[in-house]
Structure formats: C-alpha cells, structure tokens
Symmetry: C2
C-alpha cells in the first residue's frame, strides 16, 4: 500500500460554513473522500463543490461506518461527517466501534452541537447545569427515556431535547411534557429553535404549558428552563447566579 | 453619535484558532475592541496581535459586562470573549442581563464547549443522554449541586463535570464521587481531560473507583460514563445502541 488511510469523524456544526471550525474545514479540505448522510453531504457540497462524496441514508449508520473503514483500508483519508458535534448522538461512537479491531486511526473533530447553537439563538438558556436527552426511542427504551426526563426535572436541570418529535411517534413529546409538568412550573420558559444555522432558522420563546402549541419537528431543539430561568427583551436567560443591579 | 455600537459575546472554543468557528474569528476580526478574562485575551492576542484589548480579572464578571456595555454605548463594536461556548457557564447570560435595559444589541456567537472538545480527545463518551454539572459552589448552593449529582447518577446519565476541583474547595469532588458511587458501578469508565485544545493537553482514561488518584484541576473536564460505556483500544465509548457485529 502506497498511502496509509485514516478516518476523521468531523462535526460540521449546524450546517453552514460560518459555524464550522477551522479544524473541521481544513480536515474536510484535505481528505480524499467525504462520506455522510445525504442531507449533510448536500450542505458540505455547497462549501466543497469539487470533492468526491459518498451519500448514505438514514438508519444505515453501521453500513456507513463499514464503508468508511473500507475506503480508509484502501488508503484513503476519509472524512465521515456528522451534523453538530460528532460525539453527541452523532457518528463518533459507532465509527470507533466499527474501526476498533482494524489498524486504521480514527480522529474525532469536535463541532458546535445543536443545543449550544440553538441556545445562542434563544439567548442564554444553558448558563447553568443542564441535561441533553434524545426523545428518539429507535435505539433507547422509552421507559428509560421517561425516567431520565423525570429525574432531570426533579433536579431542576435545564433540559435540552434532541429529536423532540418524529413522524413515527409524534406523541412521545406529549408524554414527556406531562412528566416535566409534575416537577416544573407551567410558566417555565421554553425555547423552540428550528433549523439552527440553516435556511429557515426560527425561534419561539414560550412556556412549558404552551410549548406543544408550536411547531416541533426533527429539525427542532427544545430547551426547557430551570426554576430561575426568565425572559427579558425576548431573550431566554438562565442566570448563573451573579448579582446584577 | 456617528456609529452605532454593538456587543458580540463570542465563544472562542477551547482556545486555539483551529477549534474556533469562522463566525467567531470573523466577528473578533471586525470588532473595534476585544474584552475578556486575561487568560483568554492572552490566547486571542496570539491570533490577533494588533487588536485593541481590555483585560479583566476573575470574579469581576459583572464589572466586565458593565464595561462592555459602556464601550458599546460609546459607539464601539465590542467582542466580549468567553472560552468554549459563551452560553455554557460563560458570559452570554450575564451580558444579556446587564445590557437588558439599554438600546444596545447583543448577539451570541456559539462555540465548541469544553465537554464536547474534551469528549473528542477521550473517544466518544457523550454519545447518549448526558448532564453537564459545575462543581463550583461560588454561585450555587452545594446542597443543590449534590442533589443534581445524585439524580443524574440515578438516571444513568453520562456526567460531564465542569470546574471539578478548585483550590479553595478541593474536597467537593470527593463528596461528589461518593454520591455517584452509590448509583454507578466502581468500574464505570471515566475520562479526565486537561487543557483541552491548548498546550499541555492530556487525557487519562480510568474508572470511577480510581479517578481521584489522577490530577484534576480547574482546567480539567471529568466525564463519567453510563452503565453501557466501555473502553476499546484506549478510547472511551458510550454506545448509542446500534448493533455492531
């Protein structure tokens, strides 16, 4: 083999070049092949129109990693891209698992994850202790997710929900909201941020009681405040505890 | 006033240019003045040696925001910098609070937060539901922090600890570890990542039982796995749930 292959799992941030790190950009630029879900390949092709790409489908994550490994074993430097941060419900873990017994080096390039990018659109709701929970029950038992939602609410954590509503199980967020309402006030501020950093970005600031009246889909992050979170000038702020006059 | 001032609260990531987003870089480049804690001003001055800067001290966060507001009211475009993501235990919330009643626009620029950057060094420990808890009791009641540590452990969340050990209260992490050990196995993998993205970056992968034997300071992120987290080829991986052969 003339050239040693390598795998980079690259968190590209919310999707536009602006929110990508220099390291992510340079890594993709210097790779031989970019592989990823077709939605994110389409975003990256706008930035790197001349790169060789491999598009993969949803629910084909293991196959995508196997293909990445094969390409690297053939001597290619491969950038496996993942939206947001590759290590948060992304491709980093599964790629490390798949490459585990090979001789191929895997390097993870961090990125701006969706809860941080979405929080910045809403104001500063994650300024204190927070949890990140995915409401997708494709790979996780719904009973465990519900237990986590309850304990996070009991602990007065700010809660950032990923995958808040799927087409397949739209009722899960209703159940989750009912659980949260047992612990948090119905007036708790909530931010609903859609398409963060992409075309069509939008944000609604509302309350726990009213949040289900707003559009929530799989491209939405829902951030539910703690007991101290407030709204000021249309921004959602969770105080860190500093005394402000 | 000839020029309208504006405030950008900029998350610069772990500290080097590589892990900064294009948006953060361009915002700082186009600002009139950069203000921030002296440690981070020193990092940014390496990237922008000709910029006008204002250095501020630790525990002077409110004063720093007041000075930022004053500079913006004088017509300056000001970049208030914050390490990691400005919205995670950073300057975003306090700046929005201080600027609340002014006419100055405040925009938050997200960055790669310390737990995501540190996770990428350790492998992929944050691949499933996780909590972010600061062990600093400067602004938060220690009883509340302990309650959150217990509930996060009971919920089998991955736990990312910020400010894990201060010089003033080095014993807090010992207490926190005792609480976690009531719920999580002593063999739970733990990553201890120091100076992420900076000179002297280092990472130890160990277990919950042994983690206190390792060096932990205020420039450390400690990531404690869930019941499924494992170590493979020296990398800490929390599985998302995909079936890997």
């Amino acid at each position: 083999m003339d050239k040693k292959g390598k795998i980079y799992v690259v968190g590209i941030g919310p999707g536009n070049k602006e929110n990508m790190t220099f390291r992510a950009y340079n890594t993709i630029k210097e790779s031989d092949i970019i592989i990823g879900h077709k939605t994110y390949i389409a975003l990256v092709e706008k930035i790197f129109p001349d790169k060789k790409t491999v598009k993969s489908a949803m629910k084909k994550e293991v196959e995508r990693c196997e293909e990445t490994l094969k390409l690297a074993e053939e001597g290619n430097v491969v950038a496996l891209i993942s939206s947001g941060d590759a290590g948060v419900y992304g491709m980093a873990g599964i790629m490390l698992e798949v490459a585990g017994d090979s001789n191929i080096d895997v390097e993870i390039i961090p990125g701006v994850t969706s809860s941080n990018a979405s929080a910045s659109v809403a104001g500063a709701p994650l300024m204190h202790d927070y949890v990140t929970i995915s409401l997708s029950n494709l790979l996780t038992d719904w009973e465990l997710i519900k237990k986590r939602v309850a304990l996070a609410s009991e602990g007065d954590f700010v809660i950032s929900l990923y995958n808040p509503r799927s087409n397949g199980r739209p009722e899960l967020i209703n159940e989750a909201t009912e659980i949260i309402l047992k612990y948090k006030s119905k007036n708790t501020p909530v931010a609903i941020v859609r398409n963060t950093g992409r075309d069509g970005e939008s944000c609604d600031i509302t309350t726990l009681e009213k949040m289900l009246d707003f559009e929530i889909n799989m491209f939405t992050t829902v951030i539910i405040g703690n007991s101290k979170t407030f709204i000021k000038n249309g921004k959602m702020i969770t105080p860190r505890g500093y005394k402000v006059d």
